[in-house]
Every structure is written in C-alpha cells, then in structure tokens.
C-alpha cells in the first residue's frame, strides 16, 4: 500500500517541511513494509524543485499542473488530494503542518473518511494498534493517540525527522484532476508576501525581538544579526500589537509556533505565552538586561546585558567566525 504525501509549494518552490513529510513517509514505509511513497505536487512547480522530492525519499511524483492550483485554495486542494488518494489506493496521507495544510487536511479527513492526527512528532508505533505521538498544549506536553480508522492522515510537526538527502531520482507523472466551480467558490483577490526573506515558520534560525528593543527604528540591529546568520526575524506579541513589526512575525501561544535549531530572544521577558511558541526549538539563546527575566529559565545560553551593546558585538563575532 502506497503512502501519499501532499507537497506544499510557494511560487514554484517546494517547502522544506513538505520534503520532511516525504522523508517521514519513507521512514514509515520502511518500518511497516507499506509499499512506496508517492508525492502529489499541485500547480506550477519548477522541475529542479520536483527533483528534490525524490532525493527526500519519494519513488514517484504526481504533478497536477492546473495553474488554478498555484494559490492555496483550500477546497480545490482538498479535492485534488482526495482524487490522488483514491487513484493510487493509498490508506495513509502524510503532510507537513502549516496554516494551509491544516485547513486542507481537516476537509480531507471527512472526504476520505480518515482519522486525522496533527502535530505528529515521531513515527507511529504499530506493534499494537496505531499509536501516534503528538505535541499538545502548545508544546507543553505530548499525547499518545490510538488511531482506529482504516484511512489515516498524519500532519507532521516541523523538525520531527531528519531530512533524507540520499534518495534517488523519482519519475514525474502528469496527474489530471477534475475540479468543479464549487472548488473555486472563494476568490483570492490579493496576496501580500514578504519576498526574498527567510520565512519564519520554515526558518532554521530565528532572531526575535521584544519590547526591550524600545522601538521599530532599532530593528536594523536585529536584521543585521539575522542576515549574518541567514535567519528569519520574529517578535513578541506586544511588538506586533503596537505595530513595530508585522503581525505574521509574532511568535507564541497566539502567534506563529516555531521549531528552529536556534532561537535567539532579545529584549523579550519570556512570558509563558511567548515560550509556548518557541519551546520546540533545539537551542535557545537569551539576551536580556534583567538577570531575573523568566526567559533565562527556558534558555540554553544566556547573556545578561544591554541589547544595544551586546547585539552588534555578537554580529561582529559571528562575521569573524562564519
């Protein structure tokens, strides 16, 4: 039985988290002898990008080139995936958790009559039942969930598996989807997206600033540091509330949940709601002038000091070293 993987793309580029989902599915097929991994890419995707899917572990790529699928139209994507799922006779769908994938997966769960587990962090344990470990309470705990349905959907949390880089070239097959007007009942009339920057939910390193930065005019310092590291920039909730930074950069319980290898928090106190969005980071560095700031308790490394003094020095030191 094959596993289907939904590939999310943005402007023709395959998302790295989707490649992680491919590697996850590949590891799952080896574990359960489940057959092959077939990936589904929707809309216009560059050939060089499609090639990455095989390297991550897929043995075949289905490509539905209908350009109406370039944008993330929720209903249309759900319909297309359901068609591929039944065409290849899959029982399991794997996808990377994201705001689009969540919305699509939920509709699919009903369409293909599948049990859906989100925020999956490990390969399922199939020795008795089908037990899936997922993160709950915004990373503050884990739950083992027994999935009792025949068809299954697993939405994988970022950084839950090492990306496979030794897969082989996977053939790309055209896939025809039948889409109805209903699938396009809503119209996307405008898209605003920061281009050329590292996207926060995907980033491997995040440089984040809080109210301790005093004002938007001081962000240049954080941007320099981020640029040196190839990092994305984030912020605390009050910072986006007052409009110092755009809303999509707000990290935490009510914002973006990140899971980078390195999270650098500058002038952020470390309120529990902020920590909820960063507690899946591999390594946390805190720079704060108050030694009592709660963030130090959640940090791996800390510097007690004035950000305005420490950050430029850190950028210098990194430039010298990298």
């Amino acid at each position: 039985m094959s596993i289907l993987v939904y590939i999310e793309q943005s402007e023709g580029k395959v998302k790295k988290t989707s490649l992680e989902a491919v590697s996850f599915a590949e590891a799952l097929t080896s574990k359960t002898n489940e057959g092959e991994v077939i990936a589904l890419a929707l809309g216009s995707v560059e050939d060089s990008e499609l090639a990455l899917i095989g390297i991550a572990g897929a043995s075949k790529v289905l490509h539905a080139t209908d350009s109406r699928l370039n944008a993330g139209v929720i209903q249309a994507h759900a319909s297309a995936i359901a068609q591929a799922f039944s065409k290849i006779g899959a029982k399991t769908l794997v996808l990377a958790k994201s705001s689009l994938a969540d919305a699509v997966a939920a509709r699919l769960a009903i369409k293909i009559n599948a049990g859906l587990v989100s925020n999956v962090i490990e390969l399922p344990n199939t020795t008795s039942g089908y037990k899936v470990k997922r993160s709950i309470f915004t990373g503050k705990a884990f739950a083992e969930t027994d999935l009792t349905t025949d068809n299954k959907i697993l939405a994988i949390k970022k950084n839950s598996i090492t990306l496979k880089t030794d897969g082989s070239n996977a053939p790309v097959e055209q896939f025809e989807v039948t889409l109805s007007d209903d699938d396009f009942a809503s119209k996307i009339t405008a898209t605003e997206r920061a281009t050329g920057e590292v996207l926060l939910p995907e980033a491997d390193i995040v440089v984040s600033g809080g109210r301790g930065m005093k004002g938007p005019e001081n962000w240049g310092m954080l941007e320099d540091l981020a640029k040196t590291l190839g990092a994305a920039t984030g912020c605390s909730k009050p910072v986006s509330d007052i409009g110092w930074r755009p809303h999509h950069e707000h990290v935490g319980q009510t914002g973006v949940k990140v899971a980078p290898s390195l999270y650098i928090a500058i002038g952020i106190s470390g309120a529990i709601q902020h920590l909820a969005g960063v507690n899946s980071s591999k390594c946390i560095v805190v720079i704060n002038k108050d030694p009592e700031a709660p963030f130090f308790k959640a940090a791996d490394y800390g510097i007690v000091g004035d950000a305005f003094e420490v950050v430029p020095k850190l950028t210098e030191a990194l430039k010298a070293e990298l």
Partner: protein
Amino acid sequence: MKILVCITHVPDTTSKIQFTADNTKFDTTGVQFIIGPYDDYALARAVELRDQTGGKLTVLNVGGTETEPTLRKALAIGADEAIRVNSFPKDSFFVANQIAHYAKEGSYDLILMGRESIDFNGGMVHGMVGELLGIPSFSPVMKLDVDGNSVTMAREIEGGKETLEASLPLIAGCQEPIAEWKIPNMRGIMSARTKPLNVVEPISEETQAEVTSYELPPAKGAVKLIDKDNVSELVKLLKNEAKVL
C-alpha cells in the same frame, strides 16, 4: 444574520500542565478555565457583526456541565443564547459531528470558530464542519467583513496574507487582529444570568482517535551564562557544543 460561535473551555494560558498519576487524565487541580483565546477573538468579532447587522448570536460548546460558567461568560460578553452539547469532547471528529448537526438545525449564515484550540491545537474542527455541511471553510482568518451576502476576509499565509472574497454561508477559524478581546461589563454579567442556555444531547458517539497516555517533556537543564564582554565565547559554544551554526 444568524451567527454561531463555537467555543472551547480550556486551561488558562499560564496553567501548569500536569497529568494524574497513571498519565491518562489531565489534572485539573488548581487550573483556571477560560474561553480559548482564539475563540475569544471569534466571539468578539461576532458581537461586532451582530451589533452591526442585527440578528442573533448563538454560542456552542461540546462539553460537560463544568463548561457552563465559560458559556455564561460568552453570554456576558454579548452572545444572545448558548447551547451545550452534553458530552465530553472525545475527539475532533466527534466534536465536528455535533457542531455540524446543531449548526444545520439552526441554519446559521456565519459560523465563527477559533483558529485552533489551545489544548489539543488541532486546527481541524472548522474544516471538518465545513466539509460535513458542504460549505467553504477558511483559517486562519485575521479580518472578516460582511456586506449583504458577500464576505471579504484576510487569511494569514506564511510570511504575509491574502485577501479573499466569498459568500455566506461559510465558516472561519479566527485569530487576531480580527477584533479586540471584549471584557464583560456589569450589565452583561447581569443579563447573562437570564439568557437561555440550552442543554442538548450528542447525536452520534462515533470517534476516530483515542488518547492512550500523556507525557511531559524532559526538564530543561540550567542556562549557561556567558559574560557580555566575551560574546565570541557564545559563538564558539553554538558552533562546537550546541552544533547549531
């Protein structure tokens, strides 16, 4: 316009998460329960829309009797009536079936939910209900305006947002800055006592997933402090010890 807002009854965001000895149940000792923060945004926007266009605003929760104070709070914030589906919310599929059933019965024009619950963080119930009812669903929605039958929304996408046009009926999973959280005033609290809170029974028992055990993450080691005049030490540690550079 008839609006339905689905709310969760969840531990306050500052709660310490613990489980009972055998790790099979959430430990509610000393935990304060609140309306889910995202549901609170949905409710706030719904109150504004109801005030703007008239009509009726209903809040619904799938939960036991313990959730009634949370529903009363929603009434105090401005909902006109409440429905409690009398059952422990077993899984997302179970909850979605209940909501779809009572939503159909009430034939609502607009259904607002939170982008995700903060206990199980599924972000799934709105999409499931949308598919069950055969109407469009959108999430995470950060702006929503209604003009007659047409709806304009902004949906957050990674690194930005998109503007959408659709028509009623539809479902939206909401997040900030769709509206400002509303705090109940004295008049609201008084009137909430007499607003209807109807208890109905679940229509199906079907589930798809069952939690078999809970676990807490391993405790974090102590922070390693580096002198502010020696930042190159930090760079070395990140490179050689943490191996993240």
